[in-house]
């Protein structure tokens, strides 16, 4: 038998330790501690003071997020009664004008949600308006990110995730739009069926795969239902989480200003300021959507009737976000090949599948294309004012213009009837406008950006207009200018300007050199430190002559030819 070991009286293991009474954070914090012990809440709480900058355009993405939440809530309500079935029934519900009409169970249950379920029509309309807002807010948010250059390094991946969200949003919206199986959405489904079939070689096979045979078959509504309530919402949720995790990881971008650098972030902490602001905004978005659902009719499927492949009503259009595809197909000339008994429908494939592919590929690649053109490999956490990247802004507006032209073409019949013009005239005009209007938009936008740069330089060098008209002893009139604050002057001059790549040591290809010269061309070099000092000196001389802090004339040194790099 072993002898017990000698005890060491100094061992700390023998101390009787009781938890200190005063160390706990109080009775109320009990649950918080409990949670913290298990999931590490304290670590997460480090992010609770995360700082976000304040600007209205940073709230556009929030509209999309909140619309998504509204869509989830109202969508759950609708799934309780919706029957995703194409089995034919004879309608015997409340809506008299459909009595005895054969229709799918999907359409009959949509009518029943609209007329027989308490609040069903309101929730349907809220759901549909929220869907329109979801895609619209994503679009607006994407445009904000584009025009401020927030997609630049290190946020390219988050931009691509955003494009993924945008494209998923379109598919999700389209699938939901198709579910009621009404005449309009069925026509839209037939349209997509055409797009699928126009894909060379595999088109017919793909159609049979999707519809389980010939259009419309009996499978597509249940399948779209799965896509709409399970597959894409799941993907959206995952992508949204990744999008926001990256947002937290990168920290938000902010506008240039005094004290704002590439390494810091100015704004308010998430808790308590943004909890209040963002939480409040959620309720505003919810309230506006409910008001729209309550006051504005949307998608009155009972007027459209059940889908019947032999019927197509005048004014058949998709929801707005698919309108550009509809428009492209409406205006394209009838290009088709007939080879050895096969048909190659370029008139459907190019504007339909091709245009969507072009849009999403172009959007996804843009950050990399711009970085390649400018040779810019640095990180950017300060936003560009759109005027300070004139070519990017012009590219964006040209893209928007092209999109808008396709979009308008999608409503060419509505334009024709509402404005009393010929449908053919609208169509021919649009065929030209989709190519010409973006070019005009590009030139005009670039000129406006450069004019705004000129105005900025004017403010930096001459100050802001005071509104005070001074009469000189010899009778001339001039407006007194007040110098701007150093802070504003800093904001107006801190931005880097794109420069043409010059091959110093490294080889730069001809195309890349040309593109970068084109990208940097035409912009106004920002005022140099010497010019600002000179202008201030000029103002000071005038101050000695009795016009305090005023630069009355416009005879400052010419801006052209100065070196852009000095004031950085």
């Amino acid at each position: 038998m072993a002898k017990p070991a000698e005890l060491n009286p100094d061992s700390p293991a023998l101390e009787v330790r009781t938890p200190p009474k005063d160390a706990g954070p109080g009775k109320l914090a009990g649950p918080a501690t409990w949670v913290d012990d298990r999931i590490g809440l304290a670590k997460l709480a480090g992010n609770i003071r995360k700082v976000f900058p304040d600007h209205w355009s940073f709230l556009l993405g929030e509209i999309a997020l909140y619309s998504f939440v509204i869509l989830l809530l109202t969508g759950v309500f609708l799934t309780i009664w919706f029957k995703p079935s194409m089995a034919e029934v004879e309608y015997a519900g409340t809506y008299e004008l459909m009595h005895g009409i054969p229709m799918s169970e999907a359409f009959a249950s949509t009518l029943s949600i609209s007329f027989d379920i308490r609040g069903g029509l309101l929730v349907r309309q809220i759901h549909h308006w929220a869907a329109m807002l979801f895609v619209a807010a994503m679009t607006a948010h994407m445009l904000r990110v584009f025009f401020t250059g927030a997609f630049r390094k290190p946020r390219e991946l988050n931009w691509i995730i955003g494009i993924g969200l945008f494209s998923m949003g379109l598919v999700e919206g389209f699938a939901g739009y198709s579910l009621p199986d009404d005449l309009l959405s069925g026509t839209g489904l037939r349209f997509v069926d055409g797009l699928v079939r126009s894909i060379p070689l595999i088109g017919t096979w793909a159609e049979f795969f999707i519809f389980g045979g010939e259009f419309p078959g009996e499978l597509v509504i249940p399948r779209l239902y799965m896509v709409h309530i399970l597959l894409i919402p799941g993907l959206l949720l995952g992508l949204i989480s990744a999008h926001m995790a990256l947002l937290v990881y990168h920290k938000h971008t902010h506008w240039p200003g005094p004290g704002r650098t590439n390494r810091n972030i100015q704004g308010y902490p998430f808790f308590p300021i943004y909890v209040a602001k963002a939480g409040g905004f959620f309720f505003i978005v919810f309230g506006v959507t409910i008001l729209m659902g309550a006051l504005m009719q949307i998608n009155p499927v009972w007027l459209y009737g059940p889908y019947n492949p032999s019927q197509v009503t005048a004014g058949s259009q998709p929801d707005w976000y698919m309108g550009f595809v509809e428009g492209a197909i409406r205006i394209i000339p009838n290009w088709e090949w007939h080879i050895l008994g096969t048909t190659w429908s370029w008139n459907i494939f190019l504007p339909g599948v091709g245009l969507m592919g072009l849009l999403f590929t172009g959007l996804a690649l843009y950050p990399f294309i711009e970085a390649w053109i400018t040779g810019d490999t640095s990180e950017h956490h300060l936003l560009d004012r759109p005027r300070n990247a004139p070519v990017r802004t012009a590219i964006g507006v040209a893209g928007m213009t092209a999109y808008a032209m396709f979009w308008l073409s999608g409503g060419n019949d509505i334009i024709a009837t509402q404005f009393h013009v010929s449908l053919n005239a609208v169509t021919y005009f649009m065929r030209v406008a989709v190519f010409v209007a973006p070019v005009i938009a590009f030139i005009v936008t670039k000129r406006i950006c450069i004019s705004l740069q000129r105005q900025d330089a004017e403010r930096v060098l001459h100050g802001s207009e005071s509104g005070v008209i001074v009469r000189s002893p010899d009778g001339g009139f001039s407006e007194a200018h007040v110098p701007i604050t150093p802070g504003e002057a800093y904001s107006l001059t801190r931005h880097p300007q794109p420069k043409a790549l010059v091959p110093n040591g490294k080889k730069v290809g001809r195309l890349r050199r040309r593109l970068s010269a084109w990208y940097a061309d035409g912009q106004l070099p920002k005022p140099t430190a010497a010019e600002i000092a000179g202008a201030a000196h000029h103002g000071a001389i005038e101050a000695d002559h009795g016009t305090p802090a005023v630069d009355a004339g416009h005879d400052a040194p010419a801006l052209e030819g100065s070196d852009a790099g000095d004031a950085r």
Binding site: D54, L59, I63, E96, Q125, G305, A314, G315, S422
Partner: protein, 278 residues
Amino acid sequence: MRFLTRGGRSPKPRASLRRHRAARPLLLGLSLLFVGTLYAALTPAAPSSAEGATDQQLVAQGKNLFAVNCASCHGLNAEGLAQQGAPSLTNVGAAAVDFQVRTGRMPMANPLAQAPRKENVFTDDEIAALAAYVASLGDGPGIPTEDQYNPAGLSPEDVARGGELFRTNCSACHNFKGAGGALPNGLVAPSLQESTPKEVYEALRTGPGQMPVFAAGAVPDDDVKSIIGYLEQVNATPSAGLTLGGLGPVSEGFWAWVVGIGGLVLFAVWIASRGARA
């Protein structure tokens, strides 16, 4: 008034032969009655002759109206003038005239691609006269009677069936609730929301403008009544909020951007303009 006396100065007649004072008027009355009866007995069938006279008057009146209002394009004998783009009216029938004139489409104010609906300035009698004149030139559908187009008394199933017929036959041009739509080359399918049941019936049977003729063999009167009943009821149905022009997804998308994004951006500007206040 001496035609019953002999000579200028007659000898004093005997009292028995002397005519009573009332004899002359009586004789006159009798002879008139005799002649009248004889005329009535010898002339041909009275009713047809009497109505024929008014019909011819109507046609004549219509011809005059036609010469003043229509002939400059359709020709003096309604034969149509190709250089005016005006068709011959010899076989269009009374229903076509009633439809075109009553809806103000004819006479046209301007040589447009299509005659638009406008205020009718003719009285019912004038329209009837014009219709009678054009109907007298050849065949064609007549003006319908109320029992042909009045949708009163239809069952809900009949009306719902009318909706299905409308969507199948009419909605491709006139839109799902008859709001109208665009056709090629500046033509439009007009809105049916102002149209009366009679006008809808006449349009079906006569096919004005680009519209095809839906003859009774294809769409019998009962089906026309159902279609008219559906149109009337669907347009009387209350909407679920503002209809936003009732143009479908185009106007919905427009308002989603203007009211939805526009309104929320205003709120966003307001939220961002408020700093943090302790």
